[in-house]
Symmetry: C2
Subunit: 218 residues, 2 copies
Amino acid sequence: MTEPDKTRHKIIAAAKSRIAHYGYTKTTMAELAQDCDMSPGNLYRYFSGKLDIAEAICRQSSAETAEELTKVAARPGRTAAQRFHDFLFEDLRTTFQRLENSLKLVEMAHIVATERPGFYQEGLCNERKVLRLILEMGNASGEFRVADTEFVAEMIQSATMKFSYPQLFTRLPLDRLERELQGVYEILIAGLRAGIHASDPAPELAPPGMRAQQRETA
Amino acid sequence: MTEPDKTRHKIIAAAKSRIAHYGYTKTTMAELAQDCDMSPGNLYRYFSGKLDIAEAICRQSSAETAEELTKVAARPGRTAAQRFHDFLFEDLRTTFQRLENSLKLVEMAHIVATERPGFYQEGLCNERKVLRLILEMGNASGEFRVADTEFVAEMIQSATMKFSYPQLFTRLPLDRLERELQGVYEILIAGLRAGIHASDPAPELAPPGMRAQQRETA
DNA sequence: TGGATGAATATTCAACGAATCGTTCATTCG
DNA sequence: CGAATGAACGATTCGTTGAATATTCATCCA
């Protein structure tokens, strides 16, 4: 690791520790600089701003999750359905655990996601790669019949959105969330097995592309 | 309709109109009282507070939606899959339309949902009744194989959460949302047809009830 | 006596000045 | 000469305060 890279990591570690303790808004660049034994100005040699430090922390954590999920998806001797199940629950548990470990880091993640919408998309995209892998394994083994894996992976992310950032949408405890996720899993897995083909919209009335403008209240 | 009920409705109508125009926080009880030709204090004979008036507006609108969805679910000459499709898209369109018609009423709904979490649950519960009806029709016709309709209805609501309050979670335009909903529908309908039985969790590793505490980062 | 009033009171809100913080850059250090 | 500093600047946040607003209640009307 090159010297400036070392410094970058030192800053990230110090920031993560301080922010986890005091929160993003309550940690100042001056304090962070002190933790790193440098001047505030010098931080800007390594990051172009405070938000970039927070983004780096998120990116690191996101990479860890992606790596873990990839590992989970590749466990030997599992069916594709089991891999899919492992994937969903590992994801829920790691994000939930992160939340419980430090509400402050969640607050930070929320700020980053708000101010840098692109970053959130990027994370979804990485996760989707693992999902596609699982779908393709299922197709190969004959368990699944998924034609467009990219599209179906996107839809799975839509359907499990409630579990991606549990703390943002609901205030349910982990066991309730797990029960719900189990239910959603069961429906999704039944669909994956039966196969997804763009069939059966709803012909005569209300075709998918139509806008409803004329109706008032009925 | 009894006399006090008439007054209640007059207040609700006036409040809805004013709030749609000026927003919840910007409409005062004094103004609302003037609109109704009464004193501010008298409003408290009919509603125990400002928030209760807002809740009444929401409840009315929610009842209209429920009625409309019930009607949609009961259209003659449709398959259960088509009814399910109609239901999902009608719901998305009406909520989206409400949003476009008046951002102010959405702001109000958001306040009510935040301050009165129970009310939101109640709405979900009403909607679930219609969902169950559709599932049962599908079971009767042999299209679906859903054992526990209450449970599956809940899971469908989890999986379509992203589309329930589009404005809250995402900023996607209607056509993007419809495309995503179509995809989620296709997976769900495949699952409903194949049948949902609480099968295939993931035996050896990571059983559903387990908490993950020991893992650090891997 | 049930229903409405509007003045009185408690709470919320918004504006503004003061202080803090993120960021920059001329200067110093090694 | 590259790397680091820390004082200076402008933007943002924060606490305070006074006005506006929700709510209550003693009083009045029909």
